[in-house]
């Protein structure tokens, strides 16, 4: 059992938790993920590690309450325990060669982009961050991201905070204005990563994406997370989750990620109904 030491709401439906998991914290590195299971009937769900505190044995996770499992997780409070919490899984990001990097986060993906930027910044790299959100209420980690970057660009789809537009608009603008990057790191919704890669490809800028396919075990056993990279089948859980974005078949990933959409919707409604009933009784 893994105790929740801290819980914070970052934005609407977006929750941060620090979990006591010393075994995971000891070797966790940027880019790696954990698999959690809320309770005995829970599914195994991967979440990227947002931060690790080795001394205190804490792992930070940030998640959007979008499905039954993340809603059940979000319903837990400080002092409650998560049934299972395994990791660190996947390969750590390989960032050491980069000196000038643009880190792009989309929505909840900013939670994962942050540790990458933090690591690069700590190694003396020059980091620009482009953070994109749908609207002002969803913005989080503004101060944290500013602290680990030379330039922080906030973009919103509706212009309610920062600049009006998409992260790709800003990226293209920066590249065309002559900004030089060794690499672009893009983490967010699959379509966003796809369009970032399309934007960087003509300029030949190495682009790393962190993929989030459906997983069951997370240790290479089930193959549910298979993605086509450079024409080859790779497993995101053991070969990734980071891949060269210019090689990834994003359209296939988009199709595979909605395989369980109907089942997920039914499960989510079920949890929502239970909550409503509980509120009604309470």
């Amino acid at each position: 059992m893994f105790r929740i030491a801290e819980k914070k709401d970052l934005a609407e439906g977006l929750t941060l938790m620090r979990v006591e998991a010393p075994n995971v914290a000891r070797r966790a590195a940027a880019g790696q993920f954990i698999i959690f299971r809320v309770d005995d009937e829970g599914e195994r769900v991967p979440l990227t590690i947002a931060d690790a505190n080795r001394e205190k044995g804490l792992i930070t996770i940030i998640f959007q309450q979008v499905g039954a499992s993340t809603m059940k997780l979000g319903a837990l409070n400080v002092g409650d325990c998560i049934r299972d919490f395994a990791g660190p899984l996947g390969r750590a990001s390989e960032l050491d060669d980069f000196k000038r990097v643009c880190v792009i986060g989309g929505g909840c993906g900013c939670a994962i982009a942050y540790p990458q930027a933090k690591y690069l910044h700590s190694r003396g790299a020059e980091v620009d961050i482009i953070a994109g959100f749908r609207t002002k209420e969803l913005v989080f980690f503004e101060d944290e991201m500013k602290a680990v970057s030379s330039n922080y660009y906030l973009m919103t789809d509706d212009g309610s905070a920062g600049e009006h537009g998409l992260v790709t608009n800003k990226l293209t603008e920066l590249i065309e204005s002559g900004r030089q990057y060794d690499a672009v790191i893009a983490i967010g919704p699959v379509p966003m990563m796809k369009f970032v890669c399309l934007a960087t490809k003509p300029h030949g800028i190495k682009t790393i994406v962190s993929l989030n396919p459906i997983m069951v075990d997370g240790t290479g056993m089930c193959g549910a997370c298979r993605v086509t990279v450079g024409g080859k089948t790779r497993f995101a859980c053991v070969d990734g989750p980071d891949f060269d974005g210019h090689e990834v078949d994003f359209d296939e990933l988009i199709r595979r990620n909605v395989i369980y959409r109907e089942e997920e919707a039914a499960a989510r409604d079920h949890v929502c109904n239970l909550r409503k009933e509980a509120e009604h009784l309470g």
Partner: protein, 461 residues
């Protein structure tokens, strides 16, 4: 005078039509009377040829004679001397190619039903003497680690505990058992039985740490630094193979591992669980091994109307156990032999709608001695909404890639010497991670041999 019946005492089974729609155990086991009757068929041969056919050397005639005299408790004690998981072995071992293949009674008629008798003894013990057994072994305080909670690891850990070692078993999943819990379905091996066997090992002193991925959570090098004197790697052959044909990434195409894990480990067929499973109607399982049979029979049980086994060779070449093939046929699985998928077809939503199959012919024998399938050039198309690839698995590369100086062969299997020690002193390995995908009992045999070798190694330090 032995019972000279040429046939085994029949074991009762659930009716095929009923059982194809539930997850309860298919075979129902012997009653005490049936067990004793079957036990009297054993001639008690002095040279015990059956024992030579058992990878863990169960003293077969001895335990059977105890059953004959009604000493069921003595029978299970005899089995437990060499086998830590008898309720599992009695159910899933291929006895027909091991102990029973050597039985003298099999020369004329059926061999003694050794597997069923082993199962009876284990089940009897589980039901009748819960509290008495499993006293903690006396510890010598020497720490050893076992990586992987499958059949190899559990057997190795059990034997090391008996020798007095302080054993910690590290399991990547949330529950130990390996293929016994994620692969083999409930209706062949009830999970409560696996749980019971593991709990027995824990009561004897084995510690289990779940959610611990050796290679990631901790490396083997760090384990030695942490005070472990020897490490056994039984991490299995978990990586599923795919065919590399068009359409394999469509929604509705699974590895057998994924399909079975969702159902067996995650319980997706029970409404209380959160793990989703797509409703399937027309299913093709590609492959001819036991895993293919398990996947096909699971597909029926989660509601499929039509389930095919698509296998590129003929029935005689099929690697699955005869009993499994027979059970699958009884339950209504249709065998499309000498067929091989060459393309999986998509509907407009990117989900499986069918497959193109190549019709195959048998050519010259290949290196496995079986006649190899050759594409005839003819094609047929079948309508499907689910394709399950049961083509075999390769060893998980995680440990080899994160441990200094562990050598592997070209198939990715760990290389070991006659003592099952890897190229790295103090690191032993056995089971599928060394052999590639094989059987539960071979993995258990390796775990047993490794435990003995680790004991010798530690004493020589």
């Amino acid at each position: 005078m032995a019972n000279m019946s040429l046939e085994k005492v029949k074991m009762r089974e659930q009716d095929p039509i009923v059982r194809a729609r539930n997850f309860d155990e298919v075979t129902l086991g012997y009653s005490a009377e049936e067990a004793v009757e079957e036990a009297t068929r054993c001639l008690g041969c002095k040279n015990s040829p059956c024992v030579s056919g058992c990878p863990v050397g169960v003293k077969i005639p001895n335990f059977i004679q105890k059953l004959v005299s009604g000493d069921f408790s003595g029978a299970i004690d005899t089995i437990n001397e060499t086998n830590a998981l008898p309720a599992v072995c009695g159910r899933v071992c291929p006895q027909e190619s091991q102990c029973e293949s050597k039985c003298v009674r099999g020369i004329k008629g059926e061999p003694v039903a050794i597997g069923r008798l082993e199962r009876f003894a284990a089940d009897w013990a589980r039901e009748n003497r819960k509290s008495a057994q499993a006293v903690a072994a006396k510890s010598n305080g020497i720490k050893v680690a076992v990586v992987g909670g499958g059949p190899a690891g559990l057997t190795c850990a059990g034997d090391l505990v008996s020798m007095g070692y302080d054993v910690t078993l590290f399991e990547a999943f949330h529950v130990a058992g390996g293929v016994l819990v994620y692969g083999i379905p409930e209706f062949r091996l009830p999970k409560a039985i696996v749980r019971h066997e593991i709990e027995t090992l824990e009561r004897r002193g084995m510690k289990i740490v779940t959610n611990f991925i050796v290679g990631r959570t901790m490396t083997i090098d760090e384990m030695f630094a942490d005070g472990f004197k020897a490490v056994f790697v039984g991490s299995g052959a978990g990586l599923p193979r795919f065919m590399g044909i068009p359409g394999e990434s469509l929604s509705g195409v699974y590895s057998a591992n994924e399909f079975l894990t969702r159902i067996n480990l995650m319980g997706a067929y029970r409404s209380e669980t959160d793990t989703p499973l797509k409703k399937v109607k027309k299913v093709a399982v590609v492959g001819g091994g036991n895993v293919a049979m398990d996947a096909a029979r699971c597909a029926l049980r989660v509601g499929a109307e039509k389930v095919y086994i698509v296998y590129r060779r003929g029935m005689d070449e099929m690697p699955a156990r005869v009993e499994e093939i027979h059970h699958a046929e009884q339950e209504g699985v249709e065998f499309k032999l000498l067929h091989n998928p060459v393309e999986i077809l998509a509907d407009e939503r990117g989900a499986v709608r069918g497959a193109v199959l190549a019709e195959m012919e048998l050519g010259e024998p290949d290196e496995s001695g079986r006649r190899s399938p050759v594409d005839s050039g003819r094609r047929t198309e079948i309508e499907l909404d689910c394709v399950i690839m049961a083509l075999g698995t390769s060893p998980n590369p995680l440990i080899a890639s994160t441990t200094d100086s562990l050598s592997t062969n070209r198939r990715g299997c760990l290389e070991v010497d006659d003592d099952l020690m890897t190229s790295r002193p103090g690191v032993f390995a056995g089971g599928d991670t060394v052999t590639g995908a094989a059987t539960v009992i071979l993995a258990m045999g390796a775990g047993k041999r490794a435990a003995e070798a680790m004991d010798r190694y530690i004493k020589s330090l």
